[in-house]
Symmetry: C2
Subunit: 309 residues, 2 copies
Amino acid sequence: MQQTLIYSSPQNEFTDLSILQIQTEALKAIHDYLYEQKLIQLMPVMLSPITDPLNHETSDARINYFGQELQLTKSMIFHKQLAIASCTTKGIYIMSPNVRLEKPLKRDSGRHLIEFSQVDIELREVKALKFMELLEGLIISIIVRVKEKCTKELKSLGVSLRIPKRPFKIFSSEELKKKYGEDFEKETSLKEIDPFWITDYQREFYDKEDPKRPGHYLNYDLIYPEGFGEALSGGERDFKYEILLRKIKERYQNPDVFKFYLDKAKEGKLVASAGGGLGIERLVRFLTKIPHIRDVSPFSKVPGEYYQI
Amino acid sequence: MQQTLIYSSPQNEFTDLSILQIQTEALKAIHDYLYEQKLIQLMPVMLSPITDPLNHETSDARINYFGQELQLTKSMIFHKQLAIASCTTKGIYIMSPNVRLEKPLKRDSGRHLIEFSQVDIELREVKALKFMELLEGLIISIIVRVKEKCTKELKSLGVSLRIPKRPFKIFSSEELKKKYGEDFEKETSLKEIDPFWITDYQREFYDKEDPKRPGHYLNYDLIYPEGFGEALSGGERDFKYEILLRKIKERYQNPDVFKFYLDKAKEGKLVASAGGGLGIERLVRFLTKIPHIRDVSPFSKVPGEYYQI
């Protein structure tokens, strides 16, 4: 028997127009910047036999299409790796809606939704630092534009935005964990006043393991300051068959599930890349300093609620 | 027992880079144009208790979230009507992925996918002609941009694009049906050399019925020439409770399903609007003159096939 939902949703279809205006400028800034960077824009994939296994527990969302089971996209990681391998271009991006059926207890985090969108980016044959540079430029161009175009809206929300300086600070998860314990991400987010990076998380098999330091990873999260938490999650990618297979097994996942993708790796058809996904609703929450992500969009779907629309 | 799929998919992850470059320019043109028109951009909704009932048969795609049944979006029509009513602005748009589980026999149409994206637009308190004007400007700005920026890509595909003149031709479905019979849309598409409108289709309950000519509708499709068929489907909207309720019943649909939406109409909280959705993959197919929509995107999902990725 399935757990029933505890909360009826206070959700409605109304969102403050100032917030939507800021979102519109932020989205325009994203498209302008990534276009100037000469990235190719791909269309989103919502259904596929495989999707991101993720490193935190969510229920799977599956549908059946004439006998074939398809999963709703949790992230386009595998599609990005396949596309960037066959697309001899600098990089790609997708405005990608994701469905992650979070447990009801995530309701009060203030930053989880069961559906959200991310601008998901992958750069071909680059290292982490190159991606981080591109992302810092993106974040700054968004903030600069919103400050310039939305003076009235920011004022009505009582928000003043700082333009961060490059390069952003970089911490390793190891050093922060020593200092703050398991809640290091939250503690550092509360302490900092500008967005910053945390590197080297032990997580999904596709994030590149450091060949010089096994058990360490060439990945990164971008974290907002003032307690707003995670902005982006990403990394360099592993792409060699033997390494991917070993890491899948180490995580007790079933290699058969990823057959199409692993076959491509075996044939030597994947390439090195680095990328990551920037959540749009969390970005707008940070730009507007709204306490709960529920209030950032009309029709927002907070975990553990009963939705009316 | 469920019907099994007949065809294994020739799909792969590769798409001609010229096509993706043209898509990138087309998407940029869309965002630039709608931003200049001062429309607010909303984020897509993928899951909701209700979605578009559509006027052609598809299987429903549903998931269960802790005891609650949610449908995958076939179109954001109800969300658009609710948003435009509460958003006192000129108009809104969404880059909206849709899932429509088409029957396998649609496989060979060359223009159906089980997931696709549309730029879904709704203008507040305007008549059909105002929306059609905006759309004609959009189509022209896309074609002008692609011709200007993608000379090399169009040449490599052997495509030459015509810039259509405004206003586009307008036909009524009634006159075309008299002339060509049931296949009037296809026949006219084959005959014309520029995009054109067909008005007055008898279809979904939310499309506005002409108060002066009951049984006729203030809606429209934009059709591509050269046999490429439907580009956009849209209309003015009915928004008064009694009218919506009558039309739901006339179509043998269950009003209880649409309770949240109908309650808003009853409270007088909906407003007049006109809008429509322009399919992105079909747009790119038209711009590149690719025979089958399968070849427009990597990971394209043609009806009735078994997907590898």
